[in-house]
């Protein structure tokens, strides 16, 4: 008989090992799924994980890696604080959209004035504020009325989505756009454009913000009293209360932080890689960032690596769609499996498997 036995101390080795093991299992099972779809499994896995980095057209794909990873890392870093503290913001996608709308809104309000020193910083602030305010809705509702922030934040994603549609077709629509939906392209508005800082590297201001977020999160978690309080609130709410941590304040701060970073990511995306407010602007970064956060052990450096890996599956997945005609949903399935196997393997961090009969021990 197989039994699970609780470890006296969580295993450090397993907490590092389990993400790697989860990636390997995902490759194997993903390969089997691809085989079942009639695609060559080894080639599919190679297309997803290898070709974007070292394949024939890697020079084109590598910059894309940073472009995709930056919003994932930025959002996941914010989410990780809430997840550690037991505050479940599932609506980063909506906060990401609101950040983009606020940021783009500010830019379009100034159009065509050229004053980059004013407009671009203002956009960053507005984008952050947009995500933060959107996240405050579930926060305030929970603190005041005890609603569930998981449901409220998730439902607000759909509200934000509709708002995006409405904006793309209405208020923010390009007046010179021949009636097509979508705003002016911010890439053609120098004061607002979040351009590559070094050509052909993918390095834009959002990448730098993500990097700073990781460093700041690392310091907060390991050295700062706020990081300690976050961990305490998540592990042991009553001990946190004894330590003087206000549960309500923790909810608001964590939601505000994750919403703000998601909004900032949305703003950098709309002003740079995406360029305009369109109904198809959001591609699920806010949800994928949840996987990134857990795959990275809610640890800033882990999130950095996990964000890169996830970005790889996005790019590799597109490549596999083009080259191997893999269905888009197969790629999403693949990303989902990663979280699934991670949670499964994670059991080993706190438990060990014991073979043999129960009762002898």
């Amino acid at each position: 008989m197989i039994t699970l036995e609780r470890r006296p101390q969580p295993s450090r080795a397993w907490s590092y090992l389990s993400p790697i093991l989860a990636v390997l299992i995902t490759m194997v099972v993903g390969g089997l799924v691809f085989a079942a779809l009639g695609k060559p499994p080894v080639e599919a896995i190679r297309t997803i994980f290898w070709d974007p980095l070292f394949g024939d057209f890697a020079g084109y794909f590598r910059p894309q890696l940073l472009v995709k990873a930056a919003p994932l890392i930025l959002i996941a870093t914010g989410l990780s604080f809430g997840f550690r503290a037991g505050v479940w913001n599932i609506g980063a996608e909506g906060q990401y959209i609101m950040g983009a709308l606020f940021g783009a809104g500010v830019a379009l309000a100034f159009y065509p004035i050229e004053a980059r020193w004013l407009i671009f910083p203002l956009m960053v602030v507005a984008g952050t504020l947009g995500g933060l305010l959107w996240a405050m809705i579930p926060g305030v509702l929970r603190v005041r009325f005890g609603t569930n922030e998981i449901l409220v934040s998730l439902m607000l994603v759909y509200v934000a989505d509709f708002l995006l549609d409405a904006m793309a077709l209405g208020l923010l629509r390009n007046p010179e756009g021949m009636g097509f939906p979508g705003s002016r392209n911010l890439q053609q508005y120098p004061s607002a454009h979040n351009a590559e800082l070094i050509a052909n590297t993918g390095l834009h201001w959002g990448v730098i913000a993500a990097f700073f977020a990781v460093v700041a999160a690392y310091i907060l978690l390991s050295r700062h009293i706020f990081g300690f309080n976050v961990r305490l609130a998540g592990q042991s709410p009553r001990a946190a209360a004894f330590a003087g941590v206000s549960a309500n304040r923790m909810v608001l701060i964590c939601l505000g932080l994750s919403g703000g970073l998601a909004g900032m990511a949305g703003m950098f995306e709309v002003a740079g890689p995406a360029g305009q407010v369109l109904a198809s602007f959001n591609v699920g970064y806010g949800f994928t960032a949840i996987i990134v956060a857990f795959l990275g052990r809610l640890h800033p450096l882990g999130i950095l690596l996990a964000g890169m890996l996830m970005a790889l599956t996005y790019i590799g997945g597109e490549l596999a769609q083009m080259n191997l005609q893999l269905p888009r949903s197969a790629i999403q399935l693949f990303q989902g499996m990663l979280l699934f196997f991670l949670l499964a393997v994670d059991v080993m961090t706190n438990f060990r498997i014991r073979l043999g009969r129960k009762g002898v021990a």
Partner: protein, 507 residues
């Protein structure tokens, strides 16, 4: 009594790293009240769990009525006529007494019949209990009666009771003993686990004394003194804490008409509590569990905010202040529940040192935690309070209950507070650790700290307190000097004269 109901021979049970029972043998006759005596960790619980089918012994044999007996689970043990009343009740607060009893039965009769049977049994054994009442509204003593009646409805041959009096007032203890004597007269054997020696001398026919998992002696508790039994139990002479009565100083802590609703459902609201504690004074607050102890601690620690004037420190109103502001002013607290409240289970001792020590030990500068300082503080606590652990990098969960208790009490004491509030400082702690903790509390008072000790252990309160007050249904009695107070007077203060009557007064 020559016949034997239950015989244990050579029972051994080992857990990783510790032998809980080593070659334990004992015999219980029908109608015998048999005491199982020993310190925490002596192996009493493991032994009765083996009898009740909760653990399987590694070796040894049990015989019930001469037949080999090896219950696979508690169901089998109950079918064989063995029932048990646990120290911690397994009752649903939101259900009625009868519904709770029905939940424990294999095939419960209709609720109305069951209620009638509960009334019969409660009359017959002098255990006043109304089957229609909601368990959440019952006192601890009444809840215990629910558990006992649950057992009695099964006509047990052997009733196991694990520390039954730890939650009772002296008067409730008397009611319980009456019941147990009736059961005994009817031929039911009782295995009575306790470390309260006077009770055992009053009730039991035989005592088996366990130490470190082994039987170290049998005796007739009516014939040996409590001190002799205690010394068999600890295997040496007992160190009794002592203190020099310090001169009583200025009033440090004032509670002024403190009233507050409980933050929990089925909790007890605090009702109009007024008391003063002076520098160097130990105020003992006794009372049966669930009479507002937790709420009082929360109101004092700052986890529950009250009106500013209701709690004053050196005359300054602090009722509205959160925990860290109170710590900064000199008020420290140690809650009852060490794992999950006083300490975070999965955090290291270093992190747990910072948990409550960060303010007074200056462990946070510009928002950054001084982890080196926290480790030093943790090491100091470990050294000064003899906490058995490989080091401060171990998580709190890995410590035994007694060691963690020494750690969390030591953490507050070493912050040199002006006012210290502790709830159940020695709950579940072995005798020598308990003595060390009490001594440390009294030393702190001798240095001029005002100490409030909330405890359900009356012996403890009487031992260390200068003044005694009783907490009953959220009200605090007027404090009286502890010296010279008799146990009957204490009992009356505690019970507040509520539900004290025996159903059939036989006097």
């Amino acid at each position: 009594m020559t016949e034997t109901l239950l015989a244990l021979a050579g029972l051994t049970k080992a857990y990783p790293g510790v032998i809980a029972n080593n070659d334990v043998s004992l015999e219980i006759a029908p109608g015998e009240v048999h005491a199982l005596l020993g310190e925490n960790g002596a192996g009493k619980s493991t032994l009765v769990k083996a009898i009740y089918g909760l653990v399987k012994p590694d070796s040894g044999a049990m015989h019930l009525d001469g037949q080999p007996f090896a219950p696979a689970d508690p169901k089998a043990a109950r079918a064989a006529g063995i029932t048990m009343v646990f120290q911690h009740f397994s009752l649903f607060d939101a259900l009625s007494v009868a519904e709770n009893v029905a939940l424990g039965m294999e095939r419960p009769p209709p609720l109305r019949d069951l209620s009638a049977r509960i009334r019969d049994v409660s009359d017959q054994y002098g255990l006043p209990l109304d089957p229609t009442r909601i368990v959440g509204d019952l006192s601890a003593g009444e809840r215990q009666r629910v558990e006992i009646i649950r057992c009695l409805l099964q006509d047990p041959k052997l009733l196991i009771m694990d520390e039954p009096t730890s939650v009772l007032t002296p008067q409730e203890v008397e009611i319980l003993f009456e019941t147990l004597r009736k059961l005994k007269a009817e031929g039911t054997a009782i295995l009575y686990i306790s470390h309260k020696l006077e009770e055992i001398r009053a009730l039991c026919d035989t005592a088996t004394i366990l130490r470190l998992g082994e039987v170290v002696g049998d005796c007739d508790p009516r014939e040996v003194s409590a001190r002799e039994m205690a010394e068999m139990m600890v295997g040496g002479t007992l160190h009794v804490p002592e203190r020099e009565a310090g001169p009583e100083g200025a009033v440090l802590l004032t509670l002024d008409h403190l009233s507050a609703p409980s933050p929990q459902e089925f909790g007890t609201p605090l009702r109009d509590i007024s008391v003063e504690v002076r520098a160097g004074q130990v105020l003992g607050i006794g009372g049966v569990a669930g009479n507002g102890q937790d709420e009082l601690l929360l109101a004092l620690s700052g986890e529950m905010a009250v009106a500013p004037d209701m709690v004053r420190l050196r005359g300054q109103a602090i009722g509205h202040l959160p925990p860290n502001a109170r710590r900064a002013l000199g008020l420290c607290a140690a809650p009852e529940e060490r794992l999950g409240h006083a300490a975070a289970p999965d955090m290291t001792l270093t992190e747990n040192a910072a948990l409550s020590g960060k303010t007074r030990k200056n462990l946070v500068r510009n928002g950054l935690v001084d982890w080196g300082g926290a480790r030093d503080f943790a090491t100091t606590i470990i050294d000064r309070f003899d906490v058995r652990t490989p080091g401060p990098e171990n998580v709190a969960r890995s410590l035994s209950g007694g060691n963690l208790q020494k750690y969390v009490i030591g953490r507050e004491i070493l912050q040199a507070p002006d006012v210290l509030v502790v709830n159940q400082p020695t709950w579940g702690v072995d005798a020598s650790a308990a003595a060390a903790i009490r001594q440390a509390i009294m030393d702190l008072a001798a240095e001029g700290t005002a100490v409030v000790v909330i405890s359900q252990d009356l012996d403890e309160v009487m031992e260390i307190a200068d003044a005694f007050a009783a907490l009953n249904a959220g009200r605090l009695s007027a404090p009286r000097p502890a010296r010279g107070l008799t146990i009957e007077e204490v009992g009356l203060m505690l019970g507040g004269a509520h539900d004290m009557e025996v159903a059939h007064a036989e006097a």
